[in-house]
C-alpha cells in the first residue's frame, strides 16, 4: 500500500512541491489534489501578460490535465476542501469528495484583500488574482471605457497596463505619495510615474477612496478629500492576505499565516504548509522564488525525513509592464549605516542604485536597465566583500568599454539566471553544450529556466548565442536531431547533386542516425518528390500514418473518412449513399466539417477499403499535407449580394489542385463578395469577388497562429486567377520548409518578394505554372488505387490479423 498524500490547493506552490517530490521518488505516494478553481495548475505570475495581450490563457497552463494523468495524480478541481478531520486523517470537499491521508499539505495560497468600502459589493468591482478576474476585465473592456485601479503597487500597475492595452481609459489611485513604495526609492518611483503617464495612465497619489458609488453596477469613486471620479470598472489591487480560514478551523497554529518550522511542518503531526499561506520565521512570502525554495525543502522532507531545512529567502521583484524595466531587492532605502552607488543617466532614462552595508551588498533598485540584476542578487546571497571592487565590476552594464562583454557573459557560473526556478548560468550552459540545445524552448524543457515568469528569456537567448557562437535569434535551424543541415541546405544538395532516394540523401549528407526520425523522413520524402515529380518513387513508410492509409487516425486507433465534395456542393444521391454507408458500418459519428463536407468518424482500419468502395467518391485528402478543400459561398446564382460565380470558380480550383502535395496543408476559399461568407480572409488562398473582378488573397491562417490573409493582386478572369494561384502555390512548394504554412513562409520571405516572382517576373511565372502542371500530371485518386489493389491492401496492413492459441 502506498502512503496517501493529499494537497489542498492546486496552485504554483503545491504543484511545484509535487513536481519536486516526483523527481525524488515517483512511486512513494498515492496523490490527490483539491483545487478551488476549475483549471489545472497555471502560472499566476503571467496573468498580467494575458491581460496585456501578450499571451493566451492556454499558454500559461504549467501542468495540463495529461500531466496529472501521467503521474497518477487525482485532481479534484472546481471543488474546495471544506473540512479536515485530524483525528481520522480525512479531508472532505464542498461537494462531498472524501479522502483519507497519511500526509496533508496546505497550499491554499492567498486571497486578494478587498477594501471594506461602502459599495464594494457592486457589480464591476473586482480583484486581480485569477483567470476569472482576467476574463472579467477583458469582457468589461468590450462594452465599457473607464477603469479605476485602486493600488499603485506591482499588481495594480500590471493590471492598469493591461486595461490600457484593452483600450480602456485608466486611472490609478494610490494611498501613498509614491508608486511601488515597498520596492522603489523616491527617485525610481518618480521615474516610473513619468513613464507610466507617458504610456497613458492617469496617476493620483495621496488619494484615499471613501466610497464606491452607482446603482447595481459601479459608476464611480468618492475620495476622502471630496474629489470624485467616474468609473465603469474598479479593480482593487491593494494587497493579498494568506488564505488560512480552513487551517484555523482545522486547529493549526497561525500567526499572519500558518506557522511552519524549517521543514515546513505545522503544529499538527503529518500536516505541512507551503507557499503564500505559510509563515516561516515570522515572514510570509508572496513571490515565486521563495515558494519554489520551500516546495523543494518540503519534497525532500516527504522523501527523507533527515535533510536540510529551509532558512528563508532573499527576495527580489520585477515589474512586468511593457516598456518599463524595474528591479528591486533587499534593503533599498538609505539609512545611516548604509552607503550606496548611484548612477542616474537622464539621457538614457536609467537609474541604478546598489546599497552597501559593512562592505556587503544588501539591496538594490534598478530602473530602465535591469541587466545587472542577476549579478547583484548573487552578490547579496553570497555576502561577497565589495570593498575592493570598482563601480564597473559591481554594475558591469556601466562599463565604458563596449567590448568588455555583456553582463551575462561576465557572470560567474554559479549565478542564478532564472530566479523563479533557481537555475544557474552554469547549469544552462552545460545543458546547452551536453545536450546540443539550440532554442530557448529546448532550454526551458531541459532546465526549467524561463518556465515561470519568462523574465530571463533575454539572458537565456544570449547564453545560447554565446555557447553556440551563433545569434540564437536567427540561428540556422537544423532539420532535426539527425543532422546539422538546415532544410534549405538539404534541398540545395538534392538539386545540385541530383539525389533521388532518402537513403542516398542521408548517406551523402552524413546523417547521424541510420534511419532518420519522424521529423526528417517525411520532409526528405516531400523534398525529393517536389524536386523530381515524375521520377521519384514515394516512400509510404516515410509518411505519417494518415497519409499512408489515406484516412485520419483518431485517439482510439480508429479512422475518419472525408470524401471529396467539390466546392462544398452535394446532391441527394451523394447524401443517400453517405447515409447508407453510415448505417452499414454503424458509423458512430457523422460530422459536417469546417471545410464544407461530411466526416465519417470511428471507422475500423480493416473496413476502410470497403467504406471507400461503397461511397464511390474520391478522397477529400482531409488527412494530408496537401490541398484540402475549397470552401465557397453561394454566389451569384442564388445570393442577392453575390457578384460572381464563387461556386463555379471554387470547383474549378478544387479539381485543378486536387491531390497536390505541399509543405503543409493548404486551405482555399472563394467568396462572391466582400462579405466573405467563405472566410477567404483566413485561408492560404482566399479569393474574393468584387464587381467585375476577383481579389486574390494569400497566406492567411485560421489555426494556431491566427493571421489575416494579404492581398496578392486583383484579376479579371477566372483563368488568370487559376494561373496566379498555380504560380503562387508552386513557388511555395519550392521555397517553403516542410511543415511551414503559407502564412509563416510569407512572413519569413516577405510578400513583396513573393509578388516579384509570382506576378512580375513573367518568365519565372510561366515556368512555375508549367512545373505545377507537371506536378499535377501524375495524380490518381488514392482510394481507388487501394480499392483495386489487393497487394497494396496487404502491404499497408488493412487486413486484420487474429491469432488464437492452440496448445
Amino acid at each position: 500500500m502506498k502512503e496517501k498524500l493529499v494537497v489542498i490547493g492546486n496552485g504554483m506552490a503545491g504543484i511545484r512541491a509535487l513536481e519536486e517530490l516526483l523527481k525524488q521518488d515517483a512511486h512513494r505516494y498515492q496523490i490527490t489534489v483539491f483545487g478551488k478553481e476549475p483549471h489545472p495548475n497555471y502560472n499566476r505570475i503571467l496573468l498580467s501578460s494575458v491581460l496585456q495581450g501578450d499571451t493566451e490563457v492556454e499558454d500559461i497552463i504549467l501542468n495540463n490535465y495529461d500531466w496529472y494523468d501521467e503521474n497518477n495524480i487525482e485532481l479534484v478541481s472546481g471543488d474546495p476542501v471544506a473540512y479536515v478531520d485530524t483525528d481520522t486523517q480525512t479531508v472532505y470537499s464542498a461537494k462531498g469528495v472524501e479522502r483519507s491521508y497519511d500526509r496533508l499539505i496546505f497550499a491554499t495560497g492567498s486571497n486578494p484583500f478587498m477594501l471594506p468600502l461602502p459599495g464594494a459589493d457592486k457589480e464591476g468591482v473586482i480583484a486581480f488574482r485569477n483567470i476569472q478576474d482576467c476574463e472579467t476585465m477583458i469582457d468589461t473592456a468590450k462594452s465599457y471605457k473607464k477603469a479605476a485601479v485602486i493600488g499603485g503597487g506591482l499588481l495594480g500597475l500590471e493590471a492598469a497596463r493591461g486595461l490600457l492595452n484593452l483600450g480602456m481609459k485608466v486611472d490609478v489611485i494610490h494611498l501613498s505619495d509614491s508608486l511601488m513604495e515597498q520596492q522603489l526609492d523616491a527617485e525610481a518611483s518618480r521615474m516610473l510615474k513619468e513613464e507610466l503617464e507617458t504610456q497613458g495612465m492617469k496617476i493620483h497619489l495621496n488619494k484615499q477612496t471613501e466610497e464606491l458609488v452607482g446603482g447595481n453596477r459601479v459608476e464611480g469613486l468618492k475620495f476622502k478629500d471630496g474629489d470624485s471620479l467616474d468609473a465603469d470598472l474598479v479593480v482593487m489591487a491593494v494587497g493579498i492576505r494568506p488564505n488560512i480560514e480552513l487551517a484555523k478551523e482545522t486547529g493549526l497554529d497561525v500567526g499572519k499565516a500558518i506557522l511552519v518550522n524549517d521543514h515546513m511542518e505545522t503544529s499538527h503531526k503529518n500536516i505541512y504548509a507551503v507557499g503564500e499561506c505559510a509563515e516561516h520565521r515570522e515572514v510570509v512570502y508572496g513571490l515565486v522564488t521563495p515558494l519554489f525554495e520551500q516546495a523543494k525543502v518540503l519534497a525532500s522532507h516527504l522523501c527523507t525525513e533527515d535533510c536540510d531545512g529551509y532558512e528563508g529567502s532573499i527576495v527580489s521583484t520585477s515589474l512586468k509592464v511593457s516598456g518599463v524595466d524595474v528591479f528591486s531587492a533587499g534593503e533599498f532605502m538609505d539609512t545611516e549605516e548604509t552607503k550606496s552607488i548611484r548612477v542616474h543617466d537622464e539621457f538614457e532614462d536609467t537609474f541604478k542604485k546598489v546599497v552597501v552595508r559593512d562592505n556587503q551588498v544588501v539591496g538594490s533598485v534598478l530602473f530602465g536597465d535591469t541587466s545587472d540584476s542577476p549579478r547583484i542578487l548573487s552578490m547579496m546571497r553570497s555576502g561577497q566583500d565589495v570593498s575592493e571592487m570598482n563601480k564597473a565590476t559591481i554594475l558591469p552594464s556601466e562599463s565604458a568599454e563596449d567590448n568588455a562583454g555583456s553582463a551575462v557573459e561576465l557572470m560567474p557560473d554559479d549565478e542564478n539566471i532564472c530566479g523563479c526556478n533557481g537555475v544557474t548560468k552554469g547549469e544552462i550552459v552545460s545543458a546547452i553544450k551536453d545536450q546540443g540545445l539550440t532554442t530557448v524552448n529546448e532550454v526551458k524543457q531541459c532546465t526549467n529556466a524561463s518556465r515561470s515568469c519568462g523574465g530571463c528569456k533575454p539572458q537565456v537567448t544570449e547564453l545560447l548565442s554565446l555557447a553556440t557562437g551563433e545569434d540564437a535569434t536567427q540561428a540556422k535551424e537544423p532539420m532535426c536531431e539527425c543532422t546539422e543541415h538546415s532544410d534549405e541546405e538539404v534541398v540545395a544538395s538534392i538539386r545540385e547533386m541530383g539525389l533521388t532516394h532518402i537513403k542516398e540523401v542521408m548517406n551523402v549528407l552524413g546523417w547521424e542516425t541510420e534511419d532518420g526520425c519522424s521529423k526528417c523522413r517525411p520532409a526528405l520524402n516531400y523534398y525529393l518528390g517536389m524536386v523530381n515529380p515524375l521520377e521519384y518513387d514515394d516512400d509510404a513508410n516515410s509518411r505519417f500514418v494518415n497519409e499512408r492509409v489515406h484516412a485520419n487516425i483518431q485517439n482510439d486507433g480508429t479512422f475518419s473518412v472525408v470524401p471529396r465534395m467539390y466546392g462544398g456542393v452535394t446532391n441527394p444521391d451523394q447524401l443517400r449513399t453517405i447515409a447508407d454507408v453510415a448505417d452499414k458500418y454503424e458509423v458512430p459519428l457523422l460530422k459536417v466539417t469546417g471545410g464544407q463536407r461530411i466526416d465519417l468518424l470511428g471507422i475500423e482500419k480493416e473496413n476502410l477499403p470497403d467504406v471507400w468502395n461503397d461511397l464511390g467518391m474520391r478522397s477529400g485528402y482531409a488527412y494530408g499535407k496537401g490541398m484540402r478543400t475549397v470552401k465557397t459561398c453561394v454566389g451569384e446564382d442564388f445570393c442577392r449580394f453575390g457578384t460572381q460565380d464563387s461556386i463555379g470558380l471554387g470547383i474549378e480550383l478544387e479539381k485543378k489542385f486536387e491531390g497536390l502535395n505541399t509543405p503543409h496543408k493548404i486551405k482555399m476559399a472563394v467568396s462572391a463578395c466582400p462579405r466573405n461568407c467563405a472566410e477567404s480572409g483566413i485561408k492560404d488562398v482566399g479569393i474574393v469577388g468584387v464587381e467585375g473582378a476577383w481579389e486574390v488573397h494569400v497566406a492567411g491562417n485560421g489555426g494556431v497562429d491566427l493571421k489575416k490573409s494579404e492581398l496578392l493582386c486583383k484579376l479579371e478572369t477566372s483563368k488568370e486567377v487559376i494561373d496566379t494561384v498555380a504560380a503562387f502555390l508552386q513557388h511555395y512548394r519550392e521555397q517553403a520548409k516542410y511543415k511551414e504554412r503559407t502564412s509563416h513562409w510569407v512572413e519569413r520571405v516577405g510578400l513583396d518578394a513573393v509578388k516579384k516572382v509570382v506576378l512580375e517576373d513573367e518568365e519565372e511565372r510561366a515556368a512555375l505554372i508549367e512545373r505545377m502542371d507537371i506536378a499535377l500530371s501524375d495524380q490518381q485518386d488514392p482510394w481507388e488505387d487501394i480499392i483495386d489493389n489487393h497487394k497494396k491492401q496487404q502491404d499497408l496492413g488493412f487486413e486484420k490479423k487474429e491469432v488464437s492459441i492452440t496448445t
Binding site: 501521467e70 526520425c517 523522413r521 509510404a540 502491404d795 496448445t807
Partner: protein
Amino acid sequence: MAQVDTKHKVLVANRHELAVGLGKKVVIEGKELALFLQKDGVVYAIEDSCPHLGGPLSEGMVSGEHVFCPLHDWKISLKTGEAAGADEGCVARFDVEVENEQVYVVMPGSV
C-alpha cells in the same frame, strides 16, 4: 520454475507477411501486439499501445530500432519497449523466435 512452465510459443505470422519499416498488428486472444521486422531478419514484438495515451504503435513510423507513436510522436524502443528522450514510460516486450520463416511470440503466463 513454475513461470517457465506456463510460457508458451504462439505462431503469429509467416515472416513474408511482414515488411521492413512498417509495423504489423496481430491480435492474440484479444491482446494486441505490434510486430516489427528488421533489416537483418530479426523480429521485435511489443504491446501495441503507447505508454503515453495508448496509441497504436503498429501504425507508427519506424526508424531502425525505434517506432514513433502516430498520436503524439513518442519515440519507443522496439528492443526494450522504453520511451526515449524526455518522455518516460515503457511498453511490454515479448521474446520472438523465428523458425523456418515462421514467427513465434513467447507469451508469458497463461493467457
